[in-house]
């Protein structure tokens, strides 16, 4: 186990390093950056000075070494567009917003998804099952962006329920309260996960419903619901639980558009802005941040497999 952890940790470091390197050179290869536009109207000599200050006059290789050295100390540099912003300051300011949005989306999406999946599996072949199937297909095919816009149109403002169109609770309500702002972003972002989890759950349930061990359970006198709770759900949760960390990682970057549509001051929204304005230090920093989350999530999935399924043993041996 320890051997496995150490080996996986080394792989994680290598992965993040590769992401960093690839991102750096790709950004360097794109002509122009946030600076070019910002200083275009300044006199030539000032332009030179500013470029020198940011270090863009140096060759790519040297810039890479310097950036990497700083990054190792957690310093990705200052934002070009919004002077004073660093990756750390933005994260500490905006991460709570994103975390709350995503937590709500995941809790809502995963729970509703699993419930629908269980219902579809138990009522397989009926109208309920087909209804859920059609709903899932629809939700998977329509981007959450479109759903968000439709929701705003139908439920927000003067129409429908009168929910706020945009915005997000702040201050005392940062973590708790201000629910009316959070309803639409949560639901519109979660529907995709509802669909995904409903399908995954249904398939996993059907796999275990037809397992021979359910007959054994019935043969010792278990009622149908006990069989489902003790044996079917147990076994079908293995694929679901192990998929969860990756969902969490996916949601963190997946809610970029939701944050944008609802003007939510989260990390995703900022990230998108950085990309569109080519704010190189920030793009690099956030990309590394997201890749860290993804790598950790995949690692958590692998460990969870070993924890949830007794048939899988985690060892350090290479096969």
């Amino acid at each position: 186990m320890a051997k496995f952890l150490i080996r996986r940790f080394i792989y994680m470091i290598i992965t993040i390093f590769l992401v960093f390197t690839a991102t750096f050179f790709m950004l360097a290869a794109i002509p122009g950056n946030a600076l070019t536009g910002k200083i275009a109207k300044l006199p030539e000599s000032s332009q030179q000075r500013i470029i020198q200050k940011y270090g863009y006059d140096k060759p790519v290789g040297e810039r890479y070494v310097v950036t990497l050295g700083n990054a190792l100390h957690g310093d990705f540099g200052e934002s070009i567009v919004n002077a004073g912003d660093t990756v750390q300051s933005i994260l500490s300011e905006r991460l709570p917003v994103t975390v709350r949005l995503n937590t709500q989306q995941i809790v809502f999406g995963v729970i509703i998804g699993i419930v629908l999946g269980v219902i579809a599996a138990m009522r397989r072949g009926t109208a309920v099952d087909y209804g859920i199937l059609i709903f899932c297909m629809f939700m998977t095919s329509v981007p959450s962006l479109v759903i968000a816009l439709i929701f705003q149109l139908t439920f927000a403002g003067s129409s429908g329920l009168g929910l706020p169109i945009i915005g997000w609770p702040s201050g005392d309500e940062l973590w708790f309260g201000g629910w009316q702002y959070t309803i639409l972003p949560t639901i519109s972002g979660a529907l995709f996960y509802v669909a995904g989890y409903a399908r995954t759950t249904k398939i996993a349930m059907l796999d275990s419903i037809y397992q021979e061990c359910t007959t054994t359970a019935r043969a010792i006198g278990m009622s149908e619901s006990e069989v489902v709770i003790h044996h079917v759900v147990r076994n079908s949760f293995i694929p679901i639980i192990t998929y969860l960390p990756q969902t969490i990682a996916g949601v963190l970057s997946g809610s970029l558009f939701i944050e944008r549509v609802f003007s939510i001051p989260g990390v995703g929204n900022y990230y998108v802005e950085c990309i569109s304005s080519r704010d190189i230090p920030m793009v690099l920093g956030f990309t590394v941040f997201y890749s860290c989350i993804t790598v950790v999530a995949i690692f958590a999935s692998d460990v969870l497999y070993g924890v949830v399924d007794p048939r899988i043993k985690i060892t350090g041996d290479k096969r």
Binding site: E212, A217, G221, S223, P310
Partner: protein, 364 residues
């Protein structure tokens, strides 16, 4: 093994005082509704199991023996259906009209089931001990720790060494024989009156097979538990069963005591099955008999005898009409036109040559 000739008398001493057989199956018909049509898996069979008796149901794959076993436990699920008119009586009570509560008590509590492949029949992700505990917790009001203790004792009782350690292990950590033992421990945890063993040894090698059969026999001898053994192997039945039911194409073609079936078989199918068991007294001089052809399609069963098209002695009447049972003793009957008083003499002579020499294959 002659002490088992009359098991009913020796077992009735410690059995419950209720009258009549423990299990009575009458006119059982089970069908599976498939896209191809209605498969009549079990077609009107009747048999009974006495208290403390071991009944073997023997037949080839697809003859309806497992379906029969599951019907007794009322475990037939869609697309299967127990047809109207079927009657299963357990201890004087009608199984098919049990309420949910009664069914819960019946399954596992009064009637336990051992499945063929314990690797798939046990939940792969649940500790073996916990699965045995589940049964105890459903049928008794034992506390968790009492149930755990009892489950450990049961594991030891079925011959699993180091039960405390094994209690905590998962099915995949058990060997095939150990798994089957755990399965038995689970089935008998609540001292059921009847245990149905559905091909309990088919997935095991011969040595382990003998051990498992010995374990089941001990269960009967010590606790007076009735056992229904479902198998396709006459070799397994020989030293074990008190009575034997031979099934073919969803029907019972012959039934009788072990002696009657082995020493005086009356149905060509039984002859064929017995002829297909290798025997020590043959000394490699005889060719094993095989049965040509395949069993009939049970979506459209033949109107005559279902074995007719595979039978060496088939007569015209066999193809036209299904024969009735001919009784040979109070316990022995067979369903064949050979035993009709109008059966021609030359066929009977041919049958005499064809008939296997009776005998218990294990007693040579």
């Amino acid at each position: 093994m002659s002490e088992q000739t009359k098991p009913n008398t020796e077992a009735s001493a410690n059995a419950a005082p209720a009258d009549g057989p423990l299990l009575n199956v009458e006119h059982l018909r089970v069908s599976y509704h498939t896209y191809a049509g209605e498969v009549q898996s079990v077609r009107d069979i009747s048999f009974h199991v006495d208290r403390g008796e071991i009944l073997a149901i023997i037949g080839e794959s697809g003859c309806g023996k497992s379906v029969t076993a599951r019907s007794i436990m009322s475990l037939i699920r869609k697309p299967g259906e127990i047809k109207e008119g079927s009657k299963i009586t357990f201890d004087g009570r009608d199984v098919l009209s049990f309420s949910k509560k009664e069914m819960r008590q019946y399954r596992g509590g009064e009637c336990g089931m051992i499945f063929q492949d314990a690797l798939v029949a046990l939940d792969p992700t649940m500790r073996v001990g916990k699965q045995i505990m589940e049964n105890l917790r459903i049928h008794t009001n034992m506390s968790k720790s009492e149930a755990a203790k009892e489950a450990t004792r049961l594991l030891g009782a079925v011959g699993i060494p180091n039960p405390e350690q094994r209690f905590k292990e998962y099915p995949f950590e058990f060997s095939g024989g150990m798994r089957q033992r755990a399965m038995i421990a689970m089935a008998v945890a609540c001292q059921p009156k009847l245990v149905i063993a559905d091909e309990p040894t088919t997935a095991l090698d011969v040595t382990i097979q003998a051990q498992i059969m010995e374990l089941l026999k001990r269960l009967r001898n010590e606790d007076g538990t009735s056992i229904i053994l479902i198998t396709h192997d006459f070799g397994v039945v020989a030293g074990f069963a008190d009575r034997i039911v031979v099934m073919y194409a969803g029907q019972i073609v012959e039934s009788g005591t072990r002696e009657e079936i082995f020493y005086n078989p009356q149905h060509p199918y039984t002859w064929a099955l017995l002829g297909a068991v290798p025997r020590l007294d043959w000394q490699n001089k005889q060719v094993l008999r095989t049965i040509r052809g395949t069993p009939p399609d049970l979506i459209a069963p033949p109107k005559g005898c279902p074995f007719a098209n595979r039978c060496e002695l088939c007569m015209n009447v066999c193809l036209e009409e299904d024969p009735a049972y001919t009784p040979f003793s109070t316990s022995h009957k067979a369903k064949c036109w050979l035993h009709d008083p109008d059966c021609p003499q030359e066929v009977l002579e041919e049958a005499n040559q064809f008939k296997v020499k009776g005998g218990d294959p294990l007693e040579q």
